[in-house]
Point group: C2
Chain length 336, copies 2
């Protein structure tokens, strides 16, 4: 959705592969030049990185006080460091006031911190479910603005209608309420389930826990479950810990830094979420945490989980196990 800023409606959306190819060719033709990316989500960061690597001077403008709101601030800080490391200029707490055009093309972006030259403007300010057609047909929308469906992907408010993907709500297993998380992983699973159920089968969609990964500059960036901030806002009594570790055994060549943050619930001591930023192995490690969060495993059990070890892949204690041990200590601390 374009942000409610004068000039935003004139920016060409990049929603298809063709549009992306056109955009890329224009950047290549006119480089070096200046670009402004609005919104520091993972997509904004990926676009800013791509532009900088094309030799374009790129500023990433973010209204909030951190990049990647899907991470806690200190983990997002590592991602910002990496983006700045490849040459992206990051402006936080900066509001966009106008996108100026000349001869039908962007020329600058006016922000609360001044005017930035911009031959290219990328809007990455979030998504909204496109549910108009369904709404007009009488289907019910949920609180998120997406279509309300039951766990068999049946639309509420109409017999025989099924829906799946970016336009529907999914139940968040930890928050126990509907969320609208627009990811291909959910869309694919739900589409298959909707199709199966619509044709006489019977499969339930078990919900989501917010697992996601991306490659941003030198880091794999990944998260699952709840961040510390999200967990607290949802009323969980939390303990959290972060470790900085190495991705391989200390003596093994090619090792690099990895940060793992875990968030646990006091009382139940189950893992509520994890965030990982590292030069390798973050995306697949987050899937381990996803299985742990999904199954309701407690921190003590994670700490003693039988994970693999070989020098090219981790130290004897995988960073996940080291993080579990620190989280154990964090759980203990306020007990005494």
């Amino acid at each position: 959705m374009p942000p409610p800023v004068p000039g935003a409606e004139l920016c060409e959306p990049v929603r298809t592969v063709d549009a992306a190819e056109r955009f890329k060719m224009r950047v290549e033709r006119e480089r070096p030049g200046h670009a402004v990316v609005i919104g520091a989500s993972y997509l904004g960061l990926e676009m800013a990185e791509a532009l900088v690597r094309q030799g374009v001077e790129t500023t990433l403008v973010e209204r909030g006080d951190q990049v990647m709101r899907s991470l806690d601030p200190e983990m997002a800080g590592h991602v910002q460091d990496a983006a700045e490391g490849v040459g992206v200029r990051v402006l936080l707490s900066t509001a966009v006031e106008e996108i100026r055009h000349r001869d039908g093309r962007p020329c600058s972006v006016v922000t609360s911190e001044g005017e930035l030259p911009a031959a290219h403007v990328v809007l990455s300010t979030g998504v909204r479910p496109e549910a108009r057609l369904a709404e007009e047909a009488g289907l019910r929308l949920g609180e998120t603005g997406a279509l309300a469906v039951d766990d068999h992907q049946r639309c509420l408010g109409a017999d025989g209608a099924f829906a799946a993907g970016d336009c529907v709500e999914s139940r968040h297993r930890l928050l126990d309420r509907p969320v609208n998380i627009q990811l291909g992983t959910h869309a694919n699973k739900q589409g298959r389930i909707a199709g199966t159920n619509a044709t006489g089968g019977y499969i339930a969609f078990p919900g989501v826990i917010g697992t996601a990964a991306s490659q941003i500059c030198r880091y794999e960036v990944a998260r699952t479950g709840l961040t510390e901030r999200d967990a607290r806002e949802a009323g969980f009594d939390t303990a959290a810990a972060t470790v900085k570790d190495r991705t391989r055994a200390g003596y093994y060549p090619g090792s690099g830094p990895i940060w793992v943050k875990l968030v646990a619930e006091r009382g139940s001591e189950r893992l509520l979420g994890g965030q990982i930023v590292g030069v390798e192995g973050a995306a697949k490690r987050i899937d381990v945490l996803a299985a742990v969060v999904w199954s309701g495993m407690a921190v003590d059990e994670l700490e003693l989980l039988d994970l693999s070890y070989a020098p090219p892949f981790s130290g004897v204690y995988d960073p996940l196990l080291a993080a579990a041990r620190q989280t154990r200590k964090a759980l203990d601390e306020t007990r005494s």
Copy 2:
């Protein structure tokens, strides 16, 4: 342990870093030359690869009919392919009859398939727990020949004695019986638990499921839980499926093959084990399966697990999810 073969007792064991350095220097000084590695476990394969990469003509001799008995035969076949691909000669179903020496150095290995020249001989024919001292002190050994301990690492048969590591038995969570799996991951955890309990603390070791990973030639090779063969031998009614997939999204550069085999139990439909061979991401993916096996998750739940997705790390359906779907079909097949 040296195999019961004439001449084996003359081979120098490579048990320490110093011994390995001496061995490496001798190989470098005398290359190209010939080497014979006896025993095609992961260590034997790693040694054979290292020797071939030093320019030494290397034959890997294995008594059994496959390399890596910790995998099912068809998965082990990919590993053998990779070893042969870098130039290792693999002889299966081949018995070693004598290791001949001249002037105090190996000169050949006599096998059931003929005599092989060998300036270097590496024995990798398995390990036995070294529990003599403990046995003489009156501590009880288990059926595996390792020290019997309870789940707090207390030795059976003696008050106040604790033991941990390669010399002890651990409970296998799926087989529900003691096993002796000599891995640093278990030794480290058990050592900490023994120390904690010996000094007034109270932690239980929750057992093992046989997770392991190694880098062999171009492949990461990893396994957890039970192989199909092991599960059947233990009396489980099993269904299994294997998928060949790609490690990244199809259009993303740097993608390569990955095979995932899953073994499930009929009835409970829980996952009993997994094996992965692939050019990347096998080691961390096995840890996802380890968490799934550990927590007793069923195949249907794995298939819909909220795993991460981004093009550099997998297709939208991770190979694990694709394998779960095939295993679901395998479970269905003999029902009808």
